[in-house]
């Protein structure tokens, strides 16, 4: 039974993607099939998480020693659920969305393909299998950005798409080299065995850990390897940004927990503190970059870099608390940033621009949408009681109490700087809300009593026309349907973080033999 559940989790989205593509001539039917695929996969993942069973472990390429080894535990489970939920919501959001160009059904099929690759990566417990699934998502994502991205800037979206592809492949190829070195040391690609018994030593061990870390750092992304990310996010279509931020970045953070920690020795004087240092630099850098952004999607993209910094900081402490923080922050970031990108897309659809200088007084025009955005921003800046808080709190706490072999004073300093980063994060989100939702005094000063006179769109719109109505169109039914689950889960995880933290800590203790 369990084998069916695990293999099905990879096979289902793939099968539905193929089916959707085959039905491409009948657009509506194809979209319905895709939605069904997203929902079925979501239900399937819930079943797989609720009914734990033994791993699937079969030989795949005997001569290379590569095995088809899939398993689900408390580390991968939350990420699997979050991914299936976010992809399902993305596909559902395509039901109505008028993209203007390109077939919706093809976009939906690509999202399902990405889902298949992502789920495979989360389930894979063999290094080469992880690498292979890791790459599955790339070509579809490249198509999503290249084909459905920013319609005003064809050259830009091509550049963004190719840059995303090249950076990610460079990273994963380096990671693969690292995996191969680990194999030459341990004789196996099986990460469960490696985590249980491998003690990395010598030049080969350090090289392998460096290469694996470097590869994942590109994907996560860790400062200064994040340069592909803002472009990719801002040029991608809304669902592309959502999937990229909420799901694809998690391959990097999950890889850090599952595949980097076991091949790294926290006793090395330099590597882990160095990584933690980069993570903290990323937190501060991203916050400062956010303060300077003029485009809504780029701002949210940079905020992702900061959040990923917290995740990597947590990983680099080599503690159970760190793993808890990393996985929890990953899931929370998926829900919150997913929501924020959905909202940013909705705003961009209505006003035709993401330029912050042009967007003001949204409270006055689309109060519910603006309210949801305020909620997302609050969650993202780490307001206690919402999901974003616990991941960052745990990351900073575990940095204060890192693993025994690590230099505690260094980590304490890093924790303090990271906490300072939290303040900066609050600063830019509050500035954003003030500027975009409330409007600056200059903008609101009434020219006449109608707020609509503060024009938001790229061109002049006569009041009272259908187009002016579109500018005031607030959240509709489909949007409520798509966003409510994210809002609800953000609240739920905020008030009951134990739902995730307990299974994560159980799994972390089981997976890493000697973690304290």
């Amino acid at each position: 039974m369990s084998a069916w559940l695990l293999n099905g989790l990879v096979a289902l989205p793939f099968a539905f993607a193929v089916l959707t593509r085959l039905l491409a001539r009948r657009e509506t039917a194809a979209v319905v099939v895709a939605v069904l695929g997203g929902l079925v996969t979501l239900a399937w993942s819930v079943a797989a998480v609720l009914a734990p069973g033994p791993d699937v472990d079969l030989p795949w390429i005997a001569q290379l020693g590569v095995r088809w080894h899939l398993g689900l535990d408390g580390i991968s489970g939350p990420l699997v659920l979050m991914s299936t939920l976010v992809v399902a919501l993305c596909v559902v959001s395509l039901v109505r969305h008028d993209l203007g160009f390109g077939a919706r059904s093809d976009l939906a099929a690509l999202l399902l393909l990405i889902e298949a690759g992502v789920l495979g990566s989360f389930l894979a417990l063999d290094m080469v299998l992880f690498f292979a699934f890791f790459e599955v998502a790339l070509i579809p994502m490249w198509f999503v950005i290249n084909g459905w991205g920013d319609r005003h800037d064809e050259a830009g979206r091509r550049r963004a798409a190719t840059r995303f592809l090249v950076f990610t492949v460079l990273g994963s190829a380096l990671m693969l080299v690292g995996f191969m070195i680990v194999r030459s040391q341990t004789g196996t690609f099986d990460i469960v065995q490696i985590a249980a018994s491998y003690r990395p030593t010598g030049v080969a061990g350090v090289t392998a850990a460096l290469l694996v870390g470097l590869g994942l750092a590109v994907k996560t992304p860790l400062w200064p390897l994040h340069i592909w990310l803002p472009d990719a996010h801002s040029k991608a279509p809304t669902v592309g940004s959502v999937v990229l931020a909420a799901v694809l970045l998690k391959l990097g953070t999950y890889g850090f927990v599952r595949f980097w920690m076991p091949v790294t020795d926290p006793g090395w004087r330099l590597l882990a503190p160095f990584v933690a240092g980069l993570a903290v630099v990323g937190i501060v850098y991203a916050a400062l970059a956010c303060l300077a952004q003029t485009d809504l999607k780029r701002l949210i993209a940079y905020s992702s870099v900061g959040h990923m910094g917290f995740v990597v900081l947590a990983v680099a402490t080599f503690t159970v608390g760190g793993v808890q923080g990393a996985v929890f922050a990953s899931v929370a970031h998926g829900l919150i940033t997913g929501l924020l990108f959905f909202l940013a897309g909705a705003i961009k659809d209505r006003y035709g621009t993401g330029d912050l200088a042009r967007l003001t007084v949204l409270y006055g025009k689309v109060p519910r949408l603006a309210g949801l955005f305020a909620f997302g921003a609050m969650a993202s800046l780490g307001l206690p009681g919402l999901a974003g808080f616990w991941g960052e709190m745990l990351a900073i706490r575990s940095a204060v109490y890192p693993s025994a072999g690590l230099p505690a004073p260094t980590y304490t300093v890093l924790a303090v700087i990271a906490a300072f980063g939290v303040i900066l994060t609050s600063a830019y989100f509050l500035a954003l809300m003030r500027g975009m939702l409330q409007g600056t005094p200059a903008a609101v000063r009434p020219v006449n009593e109608d707020v609509r006179s503060v024009e938001l769109a790229t061109r002049e719109v006569a009041p009272g026309t259908a187009e002016a109505g579109a500018l005031r169109r607030d959240v509709d039914v489909l949007e409520w349907l798509t966003w409510t689950p994210l809002v609800a889960l953000t609240l739920l995880l905020g008030v009951a973080p134990g739902l995730l933290l307990v299974p994560i800590s159980v799994a972390a203790k089981a997976f890493f033999g000697g973690l304290s």
Binding site: P59, W60, I61, A62, Q63, L64, V66, G117, V128, F131, A132, F133, E135, V136, L138, I139, W142, F143, N146, G147, R158, A161, T162, L165, V166, F167, V169, L170, A173, L174, L176, V177, G178, F179, M180, I181, R183, S184, A204, T207, L211
Partner: protein, 493 residues
């Protein structure tokens, strides 16, 4: 002296191809120029049949190693044989036979054009393939050099076969000159090795070198010259200058042949000479190969970035791929693992690359200028060819869904990581560079066509079969990679 027993089962496949070549020539001579399009398919059909007939006995040789043309000298240890068919040989024969069949089918695009004499084309193709089969079984330097020339000589003629085409003639001459020089250099190296070790048999050379020879400096120089000669054949940088012009000037089918079968013959020669014969000197040649590999893939990929001509792009990409195939030599020295990795890559590269050339041949019927923009909308216009090319490009780039291409890179990384991590890192960077141009081409395929409408291509049946063969192989091996990789990588285990 007693007469030698010849193991006819072992020599059957090359013999069948040679007889097939004669048959094609005779039929062509008596039938005269083909009167209909269907009649023009006769030579290609005969070629494919010869390949199938040759493959029959080859399959039966898998279980045991067959040796023939042996020299027994009781005082000097066991017999040394010139012609050995083992699993290594058979894997390579598989590549050659598959490649020859696909190239023969690709040749049929020239039917409509009417400027390429198909009888001669297929005759030359089979002659060259005979040499390619022989080289994989050769275990002495003389057989090896002769077989390599048998591969090359018909290839010059094939390159320049199109009547009244000055580009083709120029390509042919350039290819000829480079090849002659490389053969001369290689012969020089071979004779030095012979002088230093006193034997032309690879196993005896190996034994002599392992035991230590007096003139070890001579052996080293001989080794380096031999490597240079073979580097010309496999188009390793800096001996690659002939590749782009020759590929572009030759008919697409011939370019496909050069990039797959003829190049594979060069690699098999390299494997045999370096690993079987000169294994004891791995310390000398492994660093040379590592540098060659790094240079080859970097130059190939970087220059491919600027290409707008599809065949020229494939030519540079094939230079880059040669670099990847050289990596295991440079990394692992004389270990058998190295050969396994190179063989694995070569086998995968063979049908993936043939798939790309097959579609290029189709597009070439409509757009002889072969600009990348001519491929715009191919997936919509001609889905069969479009998806097949998309798959081939993705596999060449080493990404899913071309899982098999991804595993090809895994195999090579596996050989290199550890012994030569720096080389593996160089390769990782190159894989990323390569993506840029594959992605550029891929993007063209999926752009909406300039003019919406029905298929604008008249895909010849033979080429459709060729595309189908390569595409099916790619998809099947992507789903079940073990079917291909287990036997190929297990060749030496």
């Amino acid at each position: 002296m007693r007469t030698q027993a010849i193991d006819w089962a072992a020599v059957a496949p090359p013999t069948v191809l040679a007889l097939g070549a004669l048959l094609v020539l005779v039929v062509d001579t008596f039938a005269g120029p083909p009167r209909s399009r269907r009649a023009a398919l006769v030579p290609a059909t005969l070629t494919v049949l010869s390949v199938v007939v040759a493959a029959g006995p080859a399959v039966r040789l898998w279980d045991a190693t067959h040796r023939t043309f042996c020299v027994v000298r009781p005082l000097q240890g066991p017999a040394s044989c010139s012609f050995v068919v083992d699993r290594f040989t058979l894997v390579f024969w598989g590549i050659v036979l598959f490649g020859t069949a696909v190239v023969a089918l690709l040749g049929t695009v020239a039917v409509a054009e009417g400027r390429t004499p198909l009888g001669e084309f297929n005759f030359l193709l089979l002659c060259s393939a005979t040499g390619a089969l022989t080289i994989a079984a050769a275990r002495d330097l003389i057989t090896l050099v002769v077989a390599l020339e048998v591969v090359s000589l018909p290839a010059f003629a094939m390159t320049g076969l199109r009547r009244g085409d000055r580009r083709a003639a120029e390509a042919s001459v350039k290819f000829f000159l480079v090849s002659v020089i490389s053969t001369a250099v290689m012969l020089m190296g071979v004779s030095l090795v012979y002088g230093a070790t006193g034997s032309v048999f690879l196993d005896r050379i190996d034994a002599a070198l392992a035991g230590g020879v007096e003139a070890s400096q001579v052996a080293v120089v001989g080794t380096l010259l031999t490597v240079v000669g073979l580097a010309f054949k496999v188009a390793a940088v800096p001996f690659h200058m002939w590749v782009p012009d020759t590929y572009v000037g030759a008919p697409v089918a011939v370019a496909a042949y050069l990039s797959v079968v003829s190049k594979a013959a060069g690699f098999v020669g390299l494997m045999l000479v370096l690993v079987d014969g000169l294994g004891a000197l791995a310390d000398v040649w492994a660093p040379v190969m590592a540098v060659l590999a790094a240079l080859t893939m970097t130059v190939g990929n970087v220059l491919a970035l600027w290409q707008q001509h599809a065949i020229r792009l494939l030519a540079w990409s094939s230079v880059a791929q040669a670099g990847y195939i050289l990596v295991p030599f440079g990394a692992a020295g004389a270990s058998e693992r190295a050969v396994g990795a190179s063989m694995g890559y070569l086998a995968i590269y063979a049908f993936v690359n043939l798939g790309a050339f097959a579609v290029a041949a189709v597009v070439g019927t409509r757009y002889p200028r072969q600009r990348l923009t001519d491929y715009r909308g191919l997936v919509r216009d001609e889905p069969g060819a479009g998806w097949a090319l998309a798959f081939a490009l993705v596999a060449l780039a080493g990404l899913p869904p071309g899982v098999i291409g991804l595993l090809a890179k895994v195999v090579v990384f596996d050989a290199a990581a550890g012994p030569a991590t720096w080389l593996a890192v160089v390769m990782a960077v190159n894989v990323a560079i390569g993506l840029v141009y594959y992605a550029r081409w891929l993007a063209e395929l999926f752009r909406p066509p300039v003019t919406e409408g029905a298929s604008r291509y008249d895909v010849p049946n033979g080429v459709a079969v060729a595309i189908g063969m390569t595409f099916t192989a790619g998809v099947v091996f992507s789903v079940f990679p073990g079917w291909l990789l287990d036997p190929v990588l297990g060749v030496l285990g």
